[in-house]
């Protein structure tokens, strides 16, 4: 099995300080900076950690590699697991501090995770507020065999189809890295088209709509036309909404394609070719039949990749999709093969 969504949690800002140059160590000490201003996973919220994932030694769930081995890699017999560190450097307004933190996070990932565990691969954390800074970070790690992806928060300040992001895609495709778009982010504007929701549950559930907006943007603004080898993984955003989005945007394209003449094929073709989705949260329908219908409606058996989302705790067990009465061939593709091909494992 290949697990495409594992969270390695930075234990605290102090962990990163050791990896920072003197200037930033002093800056942090003097300014009482406490880390990125983001709250994607409130510490006590049920989704943030399965009840047994908190290390006995203290620190947040997902910070202990021993526990990760025991609870996930060994327990599920994971062949390769991909780390998606959700440290939100992109919400730090100071671009140079954000860049320094990103470098520190990646150095920490290499030393504490990749060097320590051969089954793991990782995602390059970048300060995406200024694409040139992100490119420098991709160049720094692009040759390291442990990194298979550049990770971006789904909540960006500008949709990811904009040409603003082209330098990141140029660097990622040059190094044959996937681009992972992951749940969360704090760009400073509301998470919905109609303002800030009151509750965390609403913000969490609503993140699926932000993923939908990014898919629309990537296709209609021509990112895949400019970068034909660009591979995008949508991580921790659910996937049951995908067929409805395909139908809607194909219909829009039928009526409005003269506005975007660079899009020469139905948008759903681009989705099936360039986009993959991880399987947690499953957002399971009431019946197995309905789940099978949704997967059939994608008209592709290649789009889903197993992701446990460890240590997060959803209503559905991470492996539920593999035991939902789906065709054995699809189960194999979701569990292993789609990810092996997508991430070149």
């Amino acid at each position: 099995m290949i697990d495409c969504d594992i969270h390695n949690e930075v234990p605290s800002l102090q962990t990163l300080v050791a990896y920072l140059p003197d200037f930033w160590q002093d800056y942090i000490a003097e300014s009482a900076f406490v880390g990125p201003d983001a709250n994607d996973y409130p510490a006590g919220a049920a989704i943030t950690a399965r009840p047994d994932a908190k290390p006995a030694t203290g620190g947040p769930a997902g910070a202990d590699i021993g526990l990760l081995r025991q609870q996930l890699l060994d327990a599920l017999d994971i062949e390769v697991g991909i780390l998606n560190c959700a440290y939100r450097v992109s919400s730090v307004h100071h671009p140079d501090l954000a860049a320094a933190l990103a470098t520190a996070v990646n150095q920490w990932q290499v030393e504490q995770w990749l060097d320590a565990e051969p089954r793991l691969r990782a995602s390059i954390v970048v300060a995406s507020q200024l694409p040139d800074i992100a490119v420098a970070e991709i160049e720094r790690w692009g040759g390291h065999p442990g990194f298979v992806q550049v990770i971006l928060p789904v909540r960006s300040h500008t949709p990811y189809g904009s040409r603003l992001w082209d330098p990141i895609y140029a660097a990622a495709t040059k190094h044959d890295l996937a681009v992972g778009i992951h749940y969360g982010g704090a760009p400073g504007h509301p998470s919905t088209p109609s303002g800030w929701p009151s509750t965390y549950i609403e913000e969490y559930a609503g993140m699926a709509q932000v993923f939908q907006s990014q898919v629309i943007s990537l296709i209609t603004e021509g990112a895949f036309d400019r970068f034909p080898t660009l591979r995008v993984a949508l991580i921790e955003g659910g996937f049951t909404w995908m067929p409805s989005l395909m139908w809607r945007i194909d219909k829009e394209w039928k009526g409005l394609r003269h506005n975007i003449p660079w899009v020469r094929r139905p948008p759903s073709d681009y989705m099936r070719e360039h986009i993959r989705l991880t399987t947690a949260p499953l957002d399971a329908p009431p019946t197995q039949d309905e789940l099978a219908q949704i997967i059939e409606q994608m008209d592709s058996d290649e789009m889903l990749m197993f992701g446990s989302d460890y240590p997060h705790w959803h209503a559905d067990e991470p492996t539920a999709i593999l035991h939902s009465g789906l065709d054995a061939n699809i189960v194999r593709k979701i569990g292993t093969e789609n990810a092996r091909e997508f991430y070149r494992l």
Partner: protein, 367 residues
């Protein structure tokens, strides 16, 4: 792209129409004939404002439409008036042509998006008086939505009180991109008034709430603005449910207009499953979100969902399980008009077709 070939009937001839099911059109857009049309319905203080400063909304939100006024080319009346502004032509092209039993007017004239709330309220009153005088009184097949300055609960509730007794008004109108998610408390006076008068809240495609139109910033193209509207509808559904609005207003009805409906079943699953894990944050929400949605929400059919296979359309209706809640709409005179005789992409059981084309709307709006 594979076309849906299943059950695509030829356009109806007049002779056949007698055997066709009744049609109620729940989304028609009426427009003023000129910039001065509304003046006589405005008090002097706001007429002056209208003629000088005029409308001021959240500028920077505009995406040029693919066509002028987003209207069908053939909907511009031969007499040169704007699309949707000439009642005679609307009768000829829509009400008579399709033998529409009732049509619901949803004027989209920006009153709810005004930064000057009192001007927005005056504009809303003017629009409602104009609807009575120039649409409802001359044409008995028409009903209308009450336009309100929806960003201010007091002003909007007062307008509902002013209009609710008029039998021509059957709903209170919002546009989906509001300043705050619609489950928030600032809108509760509006729901109170609507519930008191048994008027559904209609939420229509469009608007500009001040923030970016996606949770990830401003896109570049009209297709993203137009095709991105379902995300705004989904956010509003989540807000109504998770804020416990239907516990606070147990008789409130909400109609989602021009937002599509294929996303609704997956959204219900997601809201249900997330609530199972994290419902303790919102103890006011006592039942699975999907049960509130199926009880309190209606959805208009335009723009019709067009999956590549008829089979998928049938699956989506079963997953949705809202046969009593889908209401037909044309969106006349807009370019993405759905024709009554060919909008539904598969042959449905007759009873279900009758519900969607008219029966559900008749019950919902008391027609």
């Amino acid at each position: 792209m594979a076309a849906i070939l299943e059950a695509q009937p030829a356009p109806t001839t007049l002779k056949e129409k007698k055997d066709k099911p009744a049609v109620i059109d729940t989304d028609i857009h009426n427009a003023p004939q000129s910039k001065t049309t509304l003046l006589k319905y405005l008090p002097a203080r706001w007429r002056r404002h209208h003629e000088t400063v005029g409308m001021r909304g959240h500028v920077g939100s505009a995406y040029p439409r693919a066509v002028p006024n987003a209207a069908r080319h053939d909907s511009w009346p031969p007499n040169g008036l704007p699309a949707g502004s000439d009642l005679d032509f609307m009768r000829e092209q829509l009400l008579d042509a399709w033998d529409i039993e009732y049509g619901i007017l949803n004027p989209l004239l920006g009153a709810g998006n005004q930064l000057n709330l009192e001007y927005g309220a005056a504009l809303a009153s003017a629009i409602n008086d104009w609807q009575i005088a120039e649409w409802l009184e001359p044409e008995p097949r028409l009903r209308a939505s009450i336009v309100v300055a929806n960003e201010d609960g007091d002003l909007a509730a007062a307008e509902i009180e002013r209009m609710a007794q008029h039998p021509g008004f059957v709903q209170v109108l919002f546009v989906v991109r509001t300043q705050e998610p619609m489950g928030r408390r600032k809108y509760y006076k509006i729901y109170e008034a609507a519930e008191r008068h048994n008027l559904p809240i209609g939420i229509h495609f469009g608007g500009a709430g001040g923030g970016p139109i996606t949770g990830a910033g401003w896109p570049s193209h009209y297709i993203e603005d137009h095709g991105g509207m379902p995300q705004a509808f989904q956010a509003q559904v989540a807000s109504f449910v998770y804020e416990g609005v239907f516990e606070r207003f147990p008789k409130l009805k909400v109609v989602l207009i021009e937002g599509g409906f294929a996303w609704m079943a997956p959204l219900m699953w997601r809201l249900d499953r997330t609530w199972e894990r994290m419902g303790n944050e919102v103890p006011e929400v006592k039942r699975p979100p999907s049960s509130y949605i199926r009880e309190h929400m209606w959805i208009s059919t335009q723009p019709m969902e067009e999956p590549p296979q008829g089979k998928y359309f049938r699956q989506l209706l079963t997953q949705l399980d809202m046969d009593d809640r889908l209401v037909f709409a044309t969106d006349y005179p807009h370019w993405d008009f759905d024709a009554p005789d060919r909008a539904i992409p598969v042959k449905l059981a007759q009873a279900l077709e009758e519900k969607i084309m008219a029966g559900n709307a008749r019950k919902l709006y008391g027609l």
